[in-house]
């Protein structure tokens, strides 16, 4: 089976999946290829494999998450691993235990994989220095969310056949978005042209240095774009005033059928979820299966995570 091949290269070069920034182009392609094989498996009647039988996967979530956590949970189980999910947000850390203490405790239980989500950028990097198993970043602060970018890439490839040569717009709250950062790196690596669009107050400093063009006007930014990725307005991360109102934001940056016309004719819409309907995206547009890839993103997310777990598990 194709799934069994091609994995040795990646193991030698990197032990952990901490971010797209740490990934080489061949490594990214191996993950994407590997995941393709799991798409059909996940659609079949019998979804269970035993590739990770006897392996232990710990999902360590310091931040609440629905889709990423359940996606990793399911991915591990479908590969036959024993999966334990810890929502740490409300236990040990509140008692003063540090991330390092938690890491040492978990390490003593001999896991083979730790999937971590943390509110602080760089937390997975720190964890990876202290544990013996592979660490997979499921989102850290505003830094990276590598599996989200990989699943987005897989979704695009699945629909458009390729990424190279495409023009991709990432719109909205770029400042607080790890999804935007990981996607910028990955789409650039795979040969796409990337525009970021958003109000100046939600644009990170020196963003052009990451290899994108930045726009504050949807009309200009969406021109000839094949993919329109909308981001959630992360109100929970905003202290103080970044925007006058949601109403004004929707007026200028919310994706509506009218604004979508600025993009290329067969443009497709993506969103990492959860969506604020009526804030960054028109609700009908979000549900329009002709243009919205939102459901497919979730579906292929499981395949991508299966590929990552398989590849990074020792």
């Amino acid at each position: 089976m194709a799934v069994q091949k091609k994995t040795s290269a990646i193991k030698s070069s990197s032990k952990h999946l901490l971010g797209i920034q740490n990934l080489s182009i061949p490594e990214a392609k191996i993950i994407l290829d590997e995941a393709k094989a799991f798409i059909s498996l996940n659609r079949s009647a019998s979804k269970k494999l035993d590739i990770l039988r006897g392996k232990t996967q710990i999902n360590l979530f310091f931040e609440p998450s629905t889709r990423t956590q359940s996606s990793f949970d399911l991915a591990g189980k479908r590969l036959g691993a024993d999966v334990m999910t810890m929502n740490v947000g409300n236990s040990a850390l509140k008692k003063g235990e540090t991330l390092m203490d938690t890491a040492m405790t978990l390490n003593a239980m001999h896991p083979d994989l730790i999937v971590i989500r943390h509110q602080d950028s760089g937390a997975p990097n720190l964890l990876s220095q202290k544990v013996n198993c592979a660490v997979i970043n499921a989102g850290d602060g505003r830094r990276e969310h590598p599996t989200q970018a990989l699943l987005d890439a897989l979704t695009i490839i699945n629909r458009k056949g390729k990424i190279e040569g495409l023009k991709i717009a990432i719109c909205g709250d770029i400042l607080h978005s790890r999804v935007a950062r990981s996607n910028i790196y990955l789409m650039n690596m795979l040969g796409a042209e990337v525009n970021v669009i958003g109000p100046k107050t939600l644009m990170p400093s020196s963003i052009e240095r990451l290899g994108v063009k930045s726009f504050t006007d949807m009309k200009k930014g969406l021109e000839n774009c094949d993919i329109v990725m909308m981001l959630r307005l992360q109100n929970e991360r905003m202290q103080g005033s970044f925007l006058p109102s949601k109403r004004e934001y929707y007026e200028f940056f919310g994706l509506t059928p009218e604004k979508l016309k600025f993009a290329s004719k067969d443009a497709l819409i993506m969103h990492p979820g959860p969506m604020n309907r009526g804030v960054e995206i028109d609700t009908k547009l979000a549900d329009d299966i002709n243009v919205s890839l939102v459901k497919e993103q979730v579906e292929l997310g499981v395949a991508i995570r299966m590929a990552c777990l398989k590849i990074y598990c020792k």
Partner: protein
């Protein structure tokens, strides 16, 4: 003590614009009796002879910003370990910060710190008290009472007086009694949760950044106030070229104030943070290479008066955390001079200028009779080998905490001997 004569020395003393081969005679009270090329061994026949072996002799370094740890944070540093680290770095006078536990903001604390320092430390300690009570930023400390007890200056260390009215009153009051105000310059509304320079690196690492504007705006505010209330005002540390522009404009206008910079901001930039190295989480943050170069030029042109170590010992627990949560600061007193010498070796600063910012300039700002080897001065002396190469290894540093910002860096130049009041207190 017995009279001493230091022979075969290259003496560099910016207070006398002296850079010459010669000898120094130290009298039996630990004061400089004679210095220079004209001093002969025959001038002190009964004296103990110390051969300096053509190393460089400078006045003992005056470090204007170091954290001791006592009381309250003895696990990070104490008077004894700080003294050892300082002397190994040729530092003989240290201005200590008041952000201890409890905070040094009242007379009884001053008594404690002076007594404790006298008993445990083997260097000259000059304690600062907080600018405001409890470093709360609102009520000014008892400037008059505290300075009469021996407090040399007032600072809230890494906190800034945010309220303009409070700052105006502090400066107005201080201008009358002549105390030194040392301000950390940072606008909190702008810096908020920031922990590194705002720019490409903060965007890539996903960390909240601190814009140079946060520093610049407080300097502009304080210098406007200083124009109205001319007190002794010192900016603890600056980090960006934009701050230098403001300083230049105001110094050219004739406004009197002084400016410091940390050795870290002169020898590192934001790229050194790499993959979340928390030992390089500093306040003010490391900025661009451009800023670093301009700061070095700022020293050359005299816009910046002093280089400080900003010695901030932190234990491993405080540093082994995700970057945003990790403690801020790095130890540096022991490596202050060797690291500063890099700017001589790479020809960006004259040696005389470097020594000036480490000795007579801080002494003058503090109105201390230190930092000079003029006849009659205390024989606090640093002897160093300008060329000796060595590699920084945190574990070998004398400080109780090992959080050096330059782990593994090869330095050129090392302290060989340190004298305090004429006695040898450190020997390599």
């Amino acid at each position: 003590m017995k009279e001493k004569i230091l022979i075969n020395a290259r003496i560099i003393d910016p207070s006398q614009k002296m850079d010459e081969k010669g000898s120094i005679i130290i009298d039996d009270k630990g004061k400089i009796k004679a210095i220079g090329k004209n001093v002969k061994a025959s001038d002190a026949t009964s004296a103990e002879v110390v051969d300096i072996k053509n190393y460089i002799v400078i006045p003992g370094i005056v470090d204007m910003k170091a954290f001791v740890g006592e009381p309250g944070y003895e696990y990070k540093e104490n008077f004894r370990t700080l003294s050892q680290a300082a002397l190994a770095g040729g530092v003989t006078s240290v201005v200590t910060m008041p952000n201890t536990k409890p905070i040094i903001d009242n007379v009884s604390m001053v008594d404690f710190i002076i007594r404790r320092g006298r008993d445990k430390a083997s260097i000259n300690l000059f304690p600062c008290a907080s600018l405001t009570r409890g470093i709360g930023g609102t009520e000014m400390s008892e400037f008059g009472l505290l300075s009469s007890k021996g407090i040399i200056g007032f600072t809230d260390v890494v906190k800034t007086i945010q309220n303009t009215e409070t700052m105006a009153r502090i400066m107005d009051y201080a201008s009358d009694i002549g105390v030194l105000i040392m301000q950390h310059v940072e606008d909190y509304e702008l810096s908020k949760n920031g922990c590194i320079n705002e720019g490409e690196v903060s965007t890539r690492l996903g960390l909240e950044g601190i814009s140079y504007i946060a520093e610049k705006i407080i300097i502009e505010r304080d210098l406007s106030l200083l124009n109205e209330y001319p007190c002794r005002y010192h900016i603890n540390q600056i980090s960006s070229k934009e701050s230098l522009d403001v300083i230049k404009k105001n110094k050219e206008k004739g406004l009197k104030f002084s400016v410091g910079v940390s050795i870290n901001n002169l020898s590192l930039n934001e790229n050194d943070i790499g993959d979340f190295k928390t030992f390089l989480k500093l306040s003010p943050p490391l900025r661009l290479e451009d800023d670093r170069i301009e700061l070095v030029k700022g020293i050359k042109s005299g816009l910046i008066d002093v280089i400080v170590s900003d010695h901030t010992p932190e234990d491993e627990e405080g540093k082994r955390l995700p970057f945003a949560q990790a403690a801020t600061g790095a130890v540096g007193i022991e490596t202050l001079l060797p690291l500063a010498l890099e700017m001589h070796h790479n020809e960006s600063l004259p040696l005389m200028k470097i020594i000036e910012t480490l000795t007579i300039n801080p002494a003058n700002i503090l109105k201390l009779n230190k930092g000079s080897l003029k006849k009659g001065s205390d024989a606090d002396i640093c002897v160093f080998d300008l060329e000796k190469p060595w590699v920084v290894n945190g574990d070998e540093l004398k400080s109780k905490s090992k959080n050096t910002s330059i782990e593994g860096r090869t330095l050129q130049g090392k302290v060989q001997m340190t004298f305090l009041n004429g006695e040898v207190v450190f020997k390599s």
